[in-house]
């Protein structure tokens, strides 16, 4: 349970921390870290307006998207506490839970019949299709490394194997999770969440028609998605058997660091040209394949 609560707490601060980092790097004071939460509360008090061209899909999409992310959180362990739900192959379930949320947002966007949202939906579908292998190959590498097939088992045994190259592997895993999280959450350099230019948007343009309550749900789902990737990252760099109180502090530190890294990445570079995005995403997959191959060779070596 502690893990679940911690994910929710870090999700609350996540967007605020990114914003604050970007403000400070640009020489501004910036809003407080809780500002996004306050905005969400304001949105929750408002009603939703639905376009007359939309149907039921459009209306249920935000709820499904949020629900799928919450379910995904339940699969991630914290320290030596197992996840609430864990079974063999649960990371595949995890990947497709997030995919189903995205799928509903995509068809919700198509439901509006707007040419902008159609464009955004097609880009989102394309790019998330490209990032899927990166995540699955990375998890396959973890499985091969530990010989286990669920988040809980993998992360609780990851550091016990005692091989010296575990550290390098955890750094590669950390890096790949950051990249996956950035792409999944439509941040720089693939997408720009701050832009007002509909023609260049990916994720933002798909949710243009949502307002009030539904918009708040979508925002919260994005924060939670960030936090759940943050907790995966935490799991690959902190051994599970450490003291629980130390774990709690470390967890919040890793999450804040993640947010600050995102903020810094977004401050000092421009986003990609749209047709460079596939190459960029495939590079992430390529690194995952590289890690996979290295572990495969090492494994064969060890068995000899």
């Amino acid at each position: 349970m502690a893990g679940l609560v911690l994910v929710f707490i870090s999700a609350i601060f996540f967007p605020g921390l990114i914003l604050r980092t970007k403000s400070i790097t640009s020489g501004r004071k910036g809003p407080g870290v809780l500002q996004p939460l306050r905005d969400a509360v304001v949105l929750f008090r408002k009603g939703s307006v639905f376009s007359t061209t939309t149907g039921v899909i459009f209306q249920i999409a935000p709820v499904i998207s949020l629900a799928s992310v919450i379910c995904a959180i339940l699969l991630v362990p914290f320290g030596h506490q197992p996840a609430l739900i864990h079974f063999r192959g649960d990371f595949v379930f995890f990947a497709y839970l997030l995919a189903i949320g995205r799928f509903f947002l995509i068809i919700g966007a198509l439901d509006t019949g707007s040419s902008f949202e159609g464009m955004g939906a097609s880009r989102e579908a394309f790019f998330s299709m490209l990032i899927e292998p990166a995540f699955l190959i990375l998890m396959a590498t973890f499985s091969m490394f530990t010989g286990l097939v669920s988040f809980t088992d993998i992360f609780s045994h990851f550091f016990i194997t005692g091989d010296h190259y575990v550290l390098i592997f955890s750094i590669i895993g950390f890096y790949l999770f950051i990249q996956t999280a950035l792409i999944e959450n439509s941040r720089l350099p693939v997408d720009d969440p701050k832009t007002h230019l509909e023609l260049t948007m990916i994720h933002e343009v798909m949710i243009l028609d949502y307002s009030g309550f539904d918009k708040a749900l979508i925002h919260i789902a994005t924060w939670l998605k960030f936090a759940v990737y943050g907790s995966l990252m935490y799991n690959v760099i902190v051994p599970a058997e450490w003291n629980i109180y130390l774990q709690i502090i470390l967890f919040l530190t890793v999450q804040s660091l993640f947010a600050i890294i995102v903020g810094l990445l977004e401050s000092f570079r421009a986003r990609n040209k749209m047709n460079k995005n596939p190459k960029f995403i495939l590079t992430v997959s390529a690194i995952a394949i590289l890690a996979f191959t290295v572990i495969l060779i090492l494994n064969l070596n060890l068995n000899l």
Binding site: K22, S26, R28, H196, E198, L199, A270, N272, M274
Partner: protein, 505 residues
Amino acid sequence: MSIQCKEISANPFTISLGSIPLMDYNSFYSQTVQMMKDEPVHCVAYYGVEVNDDLQLICCLADDNNHNFRIYSTMLPVGSNPVPSISMEIPQLQVYEREIHENFGLFFDGHPWLKPVRYPHDRADRDSAMDNYPFYVIEGEELHEVGVGPVHAGVIEPGHFRFICNGEKVLHLEIQLGYQHRGVERILSAGLNGMKRSVICDNIVGDTSVGYALAHAQLIESLAGIQSEAAIQIERCIGLELERIAVHIGDTAALCGDVAYQLGQVVCEALRTEIINTTQFWCGNRFGKGLVRPGGTNYTLDEKVAVKILRVLEDVGKRFAAISDRIYTLPSVVARFEDIGTVTRRQALSIGAVGMAARTCGIRRDVRWSHPFQTYRERSFEPELIETGDVLARGLLRAREVSDSIAFITGLVNDRRGIRDRVSGPDYNLSLMPGSFALSLVEGWRGEICHSAVTDRDGNLIHYKIKDPSFHNWMALALAVREQEISDFPVCNKSFNLSYCGNDL
């Protein structure tokens, strides 16, 4: 065939209406084609004036290399039969012919598309409205249309962009303007007093306030036969260059914003504020409204202002040089700007591009150099040129023009400090020469601004014509985005930063 035209080398100039050579349309046609085949010759004004019951088409060409104007005209009876279109041979005249058609219902035979210019619908057709405007279509299974505007997400003016795309690739862009037609030209020729006219000219195009006011002021002075004092000429050019610096830096900020480069955006935004606040310190308005007036000025450049301008420019110059160096060497930014929205030299020449759009294609076209006005007449000026014609070129040109302008103003301010005479205040009651045609060109930050006017027998303005640089350059944008990704349109658009209200008038 002999060419009949009046050649004038002054800018601004006033000539009597009767001295403009008049010819039949056929010689008008062949003469225009013959002269405009020459690369440095481009059209600065071509419009109709109703004289009694006839329509007089006045054409004024500017020759950049010989630094002069050529002016001639033809007379057609109102409601005359269609006349052959010159656009087929000289494409840059297409927009002028569309405007003549829109205003007088004259048809041009062979003109590919007499699309409305300053109205979002066909003015002659009572049933046509914005809602049923027939956009250009291309049939195809795999093609789709994307319509953007006229209400945009950003804080910009109204204009509709209709893209025909194949996937992410743009095949065609149709730009539909005219949503804020205000009838500026009609108001200016409606017998207002001089002060009201000046105030209107300050506000025709909000981001080029000084440029427009200057074009108007020197036109009126030329019509009145006076020349402003040396001190005032210098002050006006300082105002014009300050405006150029402010807008160029602001555009650099916006370009960075469009590619999500936060550092460049915030630094340039801050620098722009420094400049416009200096303009405010000088004349009480950040955009320089009220700074330029015919005959004189209300806000003379005293020692306090001069010191402030020099101090701010030195500071901004250093900081902008540092940030623009950073921007145009950062790989992720350069990757977004390079080879995007390219306009070729040939395209730019054929559409008659002016200002930055021309200079980034390697065309030497700058009024400050070709037809110098005010204090530019006494100073040597070399326009900056870049050959590549892409977004990067338009960004770099801005950076170079900013540093040129800073150096130029520094010289001007020091010259101004050497003049001790008191300057005169504005004169709104100048009496204008009767029966005259006058034209004035100014190089605003966007390009050449042309104001021209016709007076009647009593010296009243009966016709006032304005040509914004965007009038030609919108076509450059439409050409630039062809075969580009639709997601690159915003950054292309911003790199031109064309005027909607300057087109709509």
